[in-house]
Symmetry: D2
Subunit: 335 residues, 4 copies
């Protein structure tokens, strides 16, 4: 299935080199004023070709909304949208038609479907994430009106934390070496009311994990103390409750990352996502083609040495869809 | 929602101190011989009270199958099952009725529902995972017949790796100190054919992550090189393809953890899950009650200092349900 | 799939002659006081053996609630329930093991699954509708608190309308002849606010139709003027709008049956359901067994000559689940 | 929700006078050769403006496929498609902005969403059915390759059966009178193997009913003997089994309409659908506007006096999607 969500539900489509990618957002409540410029801004953050460090492919990523709104206000009906592919169906990738690029989806798509779109990775291309950004950008605008904000930042690149300059150096060195680097993103959701999430099957962290692990190149997800909590004692990890001066019940610390028992507790929701290095590199790799013949492969042309910065709007978007869906589901929590 | 899966779909119910917990497994194909003893064996591995190091609560966890089978063979109709709670509705927890235990779901359930079962954690109790084990044990038996096996092991406890004796020491020390420890589990799925998983919305790692993050106390999920890949270069993380002597296309390494582009590639699927330390400890913690009054709380009686070993059948079960659902979904991949 | 609903979702299980039937109701909002006696009352209306005219099989149909409630108030967590089969696994039907009873599901279950529970029709037995009645009875109590009531009545039996005495005569004659008769049920839902239902995929009449056609022996569904409207002109079928003295917008007539464009308009929702005659009759019918051998078959023992009266609580229950699910879905219609 | 199906799943979007309508078909198996001309042909059958008897609005209804195919063969990934609205956002309907047209969805959409697209009926317009035809036309091509064919025909118009010339007279008279007429459609699905459909929640007739009742103007659904069976005896309605010369088990008659116990039995699936007369008529009707003011309304310009003939491809399309989804689901019936 190519869909996310129960009430607020995004179904996407599109290969990177077909006519267009796009999607349908079902379950958008009526009466929500949408600023398309804000959607476009999130798309721009995701776009390649934004600096010398990133790939030169430059697509406008202009989203066209086809339904579900009247004068910028949602109608309650599905929002259909498309983003045209400007590079589509070129002969650029033809040489790779039968080659299984290491760490790409070429082999697995062939194994599953017996057929694949060889240009640009097809459905497995990172380009498909643009549709997720559109779905998320709408959800973010809805959440903003309820006082919920979402913000992701890069916390490490190739093992470097803290220093942006150092991170850029690592990326530049990787690029010079014909290689790539991975990194880690942290996302914070602020202003979430206590009560979002479901007991067993749709715990908030489970839905966030599913959403994040759906992003290309993501290899890990953790929230709150995450993997570090495996090394801790119960007393170290405890989030004691206290009462603030205005009578609100809060936790003193936030080891839990804002979620307890699968349900938000009103504290900031904090999670981290690990991105592997981009698999498309200029260094030569050994691989095989469809018939099993050995091939030496080195990527030519435009390719990002690091996609982690570009992934920030995608992380925010996926989080926004999960939180907004949980927000709407929660309207049925009480009779 | 309290359900998992699209075709093979488990819906569970049950509070820890109500009459029973249980579930319905829909989408079980007909003609599958089920060994109930194997199900019971997985339940026994999950059960508390198995050693001096674990809690003394000893429930039989006897699963009663109510439908969907004839002489041990599945009918294709839903398998309903229940597990009676032997400790149910005791007055044991009454004192805690209004207290918000730190890192438990007491506060969030109240925030969400305005009402909660205060005995034993209710729906948020780890006891609810017994129903997941039943669903998973059936799936594992189905997978076994296709040559797929799933095995989880503890890879660290309280920061200790490699030495079981050391791990037991850490647990014993925590118990003596009235504290608890977390740990890390690794799970390997062997014999998975290439092709399981869906392109964008139901990537195999996304469904595994959702399933694992649904288990009580889990704080992180990673597959293949996981978080470590964030520090690697593309050439270090590359899984080059090769052709074996019998013409099979394989990867030389398995940084990808058996999944590429969201779809299994035929290599072992490897993932790790981080468990936080049990929040119920004998050490005194500060907290509040429902009305915001400050309370000092120390758990008495039977409580596990470490649940990681008991979590192994749960991890295996959740993985089994995900893989079997993907296996059935994949029957529609090709026309 | 053996489930109904999106938010308020019932998943059922159970063969007629296994240990029990039952189900799980997910998505029940918290804080709803449930009267189990009302549930039991609906079950009693469905039960066979209530008069000389109906079958003598007399099962208590005692529902046991296993979770999701505390002192009769819903917790927001799933309500699991079972109804034990008192007649289970008898040898009563053994002679029929290999015989395909005409108009039963024996042949189709074998064709689909290659295996079937031969005692009592298994999953296809009308007994399975008891679980639907439980799910519906809970929904009806929720709806009642919002001012919505549901009431079904028999409008024809074997072609007889209007006269209960005549209907009973038709049934008695059929019984005497070793035959059975069908009939028609009309259901009215009162107090529904305007706005329930979804534009294209989950129109209110579509969800009602799915629910009704899921009931054993139902062959047709119509709402408002139904099939008669196919013979009408647009001016005859028009529901003109007017404004009442208190400013409410209402329709003058109700050809639409309370639903326009898939969404309730605030008028009574009216629909009719056609039940075929019971296929189990004492008259001799020709059929075949599993191996294709010809067999003459005449049902012995207890069998209803007419199930239409017993179907009333089932019709009401299915309607209640559809309306309550739409009611909860509608909470997300507006931002 | 604006979606249909479990595996083969169509999600649609679009208002009649927005930029475009369209949809995403998820779950299309890979390797299926699609003839877009066949899709276009089904769309053409649905199109208004085909004769003097039907409305003059003439839209090309040119479907543009955006993804999921390579050289006309399905990739296994979602098929996204759009159909541009050529009439879009005209001022044509502005006068009706605040008027609630009788038997239209104007009032209910306002009641539900508090906002609506007033031009052309928006999402409730019959134009939205074009997206359903696309989804169905793809399913029909898949089914054709398995030997399943679907064919709908008009069986009555305004009470006239049997004579096309008489039916045309009735339509012409209605048009002359500024009125409209309804009618009845029968659909036959041939070549369906025994075994399609699910026991309780997704009975084949239930899914067909949901699909048919989702079509604009449909007021009733019946299969096999339908409503007539309510007047029959069990012996009259019996479909006795027999064995053909080649050993196949068949029914002698087909009162069941090809479905028993919710599952296809290998006979022709036969069902009928009742269409109410078009509500937009030239005759003057009383109604109110949004503020409750009384208004006399008479439709001007192009409007079909009868849409039943145009509904044939829609009925076929919805049936095709249901049958193909059941076909794919059935691949998981047996282990």
């Amino acid at each position: 299935m190519n869909a996310f969500g129960t009430i607020y539900r995004l179904t996407t489509f599109g290969e990177s080199h077909g006519p267009a990618i796009g999607g349908v957002i079902d379950g958008v409540p009526a009466g929500l004023a949408i600023d398309p410029a804000e959607v476009q801004k999130q798309l721009a953050r995701r776009r390649p070709g934004q600096s010398v460090l990133t790939t030169a492919r430059n697509e406008a990523d202009q989203v066209e909304f086809l339904s579900g709104m009247l004068d910028g206000v949602t109608l309650g009906t599905p929002i259909g949208f498309i983003i045209r592919n400007t590079d589509h169906r070129s002969a650029d990738y033809n040489a790779l038609a039968a080659v299984y690029r290491p760490n790409h989806a070429d082999f697995t798509y062939d194994a599953k479907y017996g057929i694949r779109e060889v240009r640009g990775g097809g459905r497995a291309s990172a380009r498909a994430t643009a549709s997720l950004v559109v779905g998320g950008a709408i959800a973010m605008q809805a959440l903003a009106k309820t006082g919920i904000s979402i913000s992701a930042e890069v916390v490490s690149i190739g093992g470097i934390t803290g220093s942006i300059a150092e991170m850029e150096n690592v990326i530049a060195r990787a690029k010079a070496a014909g290689d790539s680097v991975g990194g880690c993103v942290q996302c914070v959701v602020r202003g979430v009311p206590a009560g979002l999430g479901e007991p067993v099957g749709s715990k908030l962290q489970a839905m966030l994990a599913q959403a994040m692990m759906s992003i290309n190149a993501v290899k890990g997800f953790e929230y709150g103390d995450g993997f570090a909590s495996a090394d801790m004692t119960g007393s170290e990890a405890a989030d004691e409750f206290t009462t603030t001066s205005d009578g609100t019940i809060r936790t003193v610390s936030n080891h839990s990352g804002g979620i307890q028992g699968g349900i938000s507790n009103g504290e900031d929701i904090i999670f981290r996502v690990a991105f592997k290095p981009v698999p498309t590199i200029a260094k030569t790799l050994s691989t095989v083609d469809k018939n099993g013949n050995k091939i030496e492969l080195a990527a030519h042309g435009r390719h990002d040495p690091c996609v982690v910065f570009r992934a920030l709007p995608i992380v925010e978007s996926m989080a926004a869809m999960v939180i907004f869906d949980a927000y709407l589901m929660n309207r049925s929590a009480r009779f």
